[in-house]
């Protein structure tokens, strides 16, 4: 047991010292058992702060160190290095978190000081019982996995592959490309979205270092940083893609149709289909929900017209396992269902469109060959674009979706470009044009004559509905049944205004995917209150996660435009690459181990281990833990009915000592 403990209380500028009476904590610490010295310092994490600790260890022969400062997540590593440099085992350090668990959450200075004393005492009692442990190093598998084939995932996969890393890219849909493939133009440069994306898609398809697994999903992930085992389910396409030459005859001849997902239901695709012409891979899949053979009928059209004989109705899902050193999760977002806002009439009136619907309507490869037309084929004379559909709204999503202001401007431009005579109204709360070239684009659109109305559109009526409910005072001259009326207060005028238009385009919030929770659990990535995946640090570790070796990129982390998604894709690839380049990684020494003579062989622990680190020796009837796989989470320790599993650095003795310390103040 340690007998000469050094205690260092950090001011953290005013972060701690502003609330906690640091000298009082120092005095209290001096009286704690086995404390040899107790000091304060303005910023303990600074070089001189660390130097002081190092010299004290040497000069006074300290055999355990307590640093009362911020969360161990912030600086445990810093102080462990300092302790180690002074010749002490790094596991003889204990951090007392008096900032996040003390000064930041306790307003009353007196209470915060008492709390800090208790936390320090807990750490002192525990530190006395800590034991030296060894870090281990593990080899890193030289391969990477990218999940999600949108622009962020494509960028990450290309960057990794270009660096010579064998990379598996998994995409759930039959083709990569994501939402960007659906867009017509990109803001603010008005590049043709497909024109800049498809070269990257093709590069993925042809890259010697990329194994593209489209129409596939990650089923499970096991292992740990440097050595993840990933099971990937490839969905049955009912087409043998090794035989298919992509001629497209099957799709031309197939007699059964379903709404095209890619065209947002505005056009039809066949039961055997590729989502869009530039798809990668450009090989069709059969949708069993639409193909009548799955309903017991005897159609053979595709079989008959397939020259290479690639159609295979016997095909089954297949599962492959890959081992990778690091993972990039780039699973993207989904647009909010606009039907959740009944007053905006989406789903009730045919001329109310979502943003994605409008992207397809405006796209040369879309259902109208790029002509902006109403469902009954008229050229709209006026269009209203409604910003903040479910964004910046505590009823739906409190956050700003960050892309809508800009694509609303883009739509306004595209409408003005195609329909010179049309009037475009943009209803906004605040125009948020923060990116490079964005404010300039806003000015350009004002110059193009877009009518900006400051006021969130409160209500959309169908023309017919409106006529039925409006009284004489609300009569709108010339309003036709097929038109719409957008109602808002123009807050700059202080007047209620009603604008009759032929078409309304909504801007549904960017939200976390419906299965984000499930995906997060697979990759052990946690989610924030907004539903998106949580980065390790919002400023300093934006693509890292709390799961070592797993990185996040793109809109799965939060709403993002294309430049930001690409930047994150590259950033995540860089982090993944940096990890792989290290060849080996140090793993915490805080693992669990089984006390052989206490294990009853009940197997309770086996199923609970999230890292598959526990195996069972049937001959000896005992569990044993693979320390390389063990992450030290403690689940098995808590579950063992015989108390046969010990967690190093978190032994019962240490935890009880910490509690005793906490209670002693």
């Amino acid at each position: 047991m340690a007998s000469k403990i050094g205690v260092y209380v950090c001011h953290c500028g005013m972060n701690i010292a502003g609330t906690v009476d640091v000298p009082a904590v120092i005095e209290a610490a001096k009286a704690m058992p086995r404390v040899a010295l107790s000091k304060e310092y303005k910023f303990a994490c600074s070089d001189p702060g660390q130097e002081m600790i190092k010299q004290d260890i040497k000069a006074h022969g300290l055999d355990a160190i307590v640093v009362a400062a911020c969360s161990p997540l912030m600086h445990e590593k810093t102080f462990r290095r300092a302790v180690e440099a002074a010749g002490l085992n790094p596991f003889l350090l204990s951090i007392a978190n008096i900032r996040e668990q003390g000064s930041w959450v306790t307003e009353d200075p007196a209470k915060a000081t008492e709390k800090a004393k208790a936390i320090v005492a807990g750490a002192v009692f525990r530190a006395a019982r800590q034991e030296p442990l060894e870090m281990r190093s593990v080899e890193i598998h030289r391969a990477a996995l990218v999940v999600g084939g949108g622009i962020a995932g494509i960028q990450a996969a290309l960057d990794l592959a270009d660096s010579g890393i064998p990379t598996t890219l998994v995409e759930r849909q039959p083709s990569i490309g994501g939402y960007m493939a659906m867009f017509d133009k990109t803001f603010p440069t008005l590049d043709c979205s497909a024109c800049i994306l498809t070269p990257k898609m093709t590069a993925v398809g042809q890259h010697e270092n990329i194994k593209l697994m489209a129409y596939s999903e990650v089923e499970s992930v096991s292992g740990f940083v440097g050595n993840f085992q990933v099971r990937i389910r490839r969905k049955a396409a009912y087409v043998d893609h090794t035989k298919c030459n992509g001629c497209g005859m099957c799709m031309e001849k197939c007699p059964y149709k379903a709404p095209s997902e890619f065209d947002q239901g505005l056009s039809q695709r066949r039961a055997i289909y590729v989502p869009f012409a530039q798809a990668v891979p450009n090989k069709p899949v059969i949708d069993p929900a639409t193909c009548v053979r799955f309903k017991g009928k005897k159609c053979k059209t595709c079989i008959k017209f397939c020259e290479p004989g690639a159609i295979d109705f016997e095909q089954k899902d297949s599962v492959e396992e890959v081992t990778v050193g690091s993972i990039v999760v780039a699973t993207g977002f989904q647009p909010m269902d606009a039907k959740k806002i009944p007053q905006l009439a989406y789903g009730r009136h045919p001329e109310v469109y979502t943003a994605l619907e409008f992207e397809r309507l405006n796209n040369a490869a879309g259902p109208t060959q790029g002509k902006i037309l109403t469902k009954d084929g008229r050229v709209p004379q006026s269009v209203a674009i409604l910003n903040c559909t479910g964004s910046r709204d505590t009823n739906y999503h409190e956050y700003c979706s960050r892309v809508c202001c800009m694509y609303a401007l883009k739509y306004a431009h595209l409408i003005k470009e195609k329909l010179h005579e049309a009037t475009v109204f943009d209803f906004y709360i605040d125009m948020r044009c923060f990116g490079k070239g964005y404010e300039e684009f806003y000015r350009r659109l004002q110059d193009e004559g877009v009518r900006f109305i400051r006021g969130k559109a409160a209500q959309v009526f169908g023309g017919k509905e409106y006529k039925a409910i409006a009284n004489a005072a609300g009569f709108i001259d010339g309003l036709e049944d097929h038109q719409l009326v957008v109602q808002a207060e123009d807050s700059l005028l202080g007047k209620l205004i009603r604008v009759p238009v032929d078409m309304v385009v909504l801007t549904p919030a960017v939200e976390a995917r419906a299965d984000a929770d499930e995906v997060g659990r697979k990759f052990l990535v946690s989610r924030g209150a907004d539903g998106f995946f949580l980065e390790q640090h919002p400023k300093l570790a934006p693509v890292s996660t709390t799961n070592d070796g797993v990185y996040i990129a793109g809109a799965c982390q939060g709403p993002k435009d294309i430049p930001d998604s690409v930047a994150q894709g590259s950033a995540a690839a860089g982090k993944a690459l940096g990890l792989i380049a290290r060849r080996e990684v140090e793993v915490e020494g805080t693992t669990a181990s089984v006390v052989d003579e206490l294990c009853s062989g009940c197997k309770c622990c086996l199923t609970l281990c999230a890292y598959n680190a526990i195996s069972f020796d049937a001959d000896r009837h005992r569990s044993s833990i693979n320390e390389v796989l063990c992450k030290g989470c403690g689940t098995c320790v808590a579950s063992c009915p015989s108390s046969a599993i010990k967690a190093k650095h978190f032994t019962d003795e240490q935890i009880f000592a910490e509690i005793e310390g906490l209670m002693s103040m």
């Binding site: 169908g462 039925a468 409910i469 609300g474």
Partner: protein, 382 residues
């Protein structure tokens, strides 16, 4: 253009008076764009809030008394501002200076003196129960207190609703009684007018009385009483199980304790009362009940459920005169006719009253009837 200097003390006083969300408003104007006054004579609630944020003159204008507390703006407000609480707290401040509209003063005086806003005599309260042989509540024999609302006691039209409720509840074997003359107005609207102290006194007296009599469960006919008992009384120590008659009927139908077998030949549309729908999310039970009445044909209006149009009677407006051309209920009758309805059903005595008035004023007696849902249910009993 006027020059103004912010008077932050006033803004702070509004926050103190209960308008805690005042500073959250980011002036998106959803409220003004959603307000039912927009159909007749727009009310700029957004600007009122901004004036209040800066403590500037104008927040206390006459417009303040137009708000019917229908909740359309509040439920849509993207910042989650309790706009009704805000209006209430501004009214409270104005009330302290005595600048309350005259008609409201009279109603408040009546509540203060006689326990009802209709200048009715106390002895009239719950007198309707006598001829119907509804007993006085007795916790040993009656499970529910039937709280008829001041409307049942002092308004002829509303008495028919309570009569229907009595028939329906009896048919299902529910035991209930009334409180007699001691009970007072629920004071829901009193609170919305900003008369917090009167509300607390009246509500407190009800709570004391109900508790003394051992009341645990209350059936109410008015969504306004419902809202007060359910959402306001608990803070004053009155925690009762409150059910609106619509909820009670719906659960009796689900439990098969009530059978609706007599066909009601009518084309019905339903007007969601603000305090039942938007305020308390009871959108489905009324429609479920209508679907169980044989022979009845149902058609939704455009402004249904969350989009429902206020009748104009909430927030104290029931006791104020609304000029012809400004009555929301006048817009509702043609809307119901437009979907081909010959019965406009609702489940609130205020709504019934307002819509009934409009039906008569617009000379539509022949075309459409206004009924409470409970009355339709009673008609369908064998």
């Amino acid at each position: 253009m006027d020059v103004a200097t912010p008077f932050i003390e006033v803004a702070n006083a509004i926050v103190e008076a209960g308008g805690k969300d005042l500073n959250l408003c980011y002036q998106c104007a959803t409220c003004t764009g959603s307000c039912p006054w927009g159909y007749v004579e727009p009310l700029n609630i957004r600007q009122l809030i901004h004036l209040a944020q800066l403590g500037l003159e104008g927040y206390e204008s006459e417009d303040l008394w137009k708000c019917t507390t229908c909740g359309t703006c509040k439920t849509r407000c993207p910042r989650g501002v309790g706009i009704i609480d805000l209006v209430r707290s501004i009214r409270m401040m104005i009330g302290e200076t005595g600048l309350i509209p005259l008609t409201l003063r009279s109603a408040l005086g009546s509540v203060r003196g006689d326990g009802n806003p209709w200048n009715g005599s106390r002895v009239e309260r719950n007198r309707w129960a006598g001829p119907l042989q509804v007993p006085i509540f007795d916790k040993a024999r009656t499970e529910y207190l039937l709280y008829g609302c001041c409307m049942a006691s002092y308004d002829v039209r509303s008495r028919k609703i309570v009569e229907a409720a009595v028939r329906v509840l009896r048919a299902a074997g529910v035991t209930f009684g009334v409180m007699g003359q001691g009970e007072e107005c629920c004071a829901e609207s009193v609170r919305k007018i900003g008369e917090e102290s009167l509300f607390e006194r009246v509500a407190g007296s009800n709570i004391e009385l109900f508790k003394a009599q051992g009341v645990e469960k209350i059936i109410v006919l008015s969504p306004h009483c419902y809202d007060a008992f359910k959402n306001d009384y608990p803070a004053l120590g009155g925690k009762f199980q409150v059910v609106h008659i619509v909820e009670k009927i719906a659960s009796l139908l689900l439990l098969d304790k009530l059978r609706l077998e007599r066909p009601v030949k009518a084309k019905v549309t339903y007007h969601d009362p603000c305090y039942l729908g938007r305020h308390n999310n009871l959108f489905d039970p009324p429609r479920m009940i209508l679907s169980k009445i044989p022979g009845l044909e149902f058609e939704e209006m455009y402004r249904a459920r969350e989009l429902s149009l206020c009748c104009g009677g909430g927030g104290g407006r029931m006791w104020m005169e609304t000029k012809f051309g400004q009555r929301f209920s006048d817009l509702r009758i043609p809307e119901a006719l437009a979907v081909g309805a010959n019965v406009l059903a609702t489940s609130c005595p205020y709504c019934v009253n307002m819509l009934q008035d409009s039906r008569l004023n617009l000379n539509k007696e022949e075309a459409i009837e206004v009924k409470d849902l409970t009355e339709l249910v009673a008609e369908s009993l064998v």
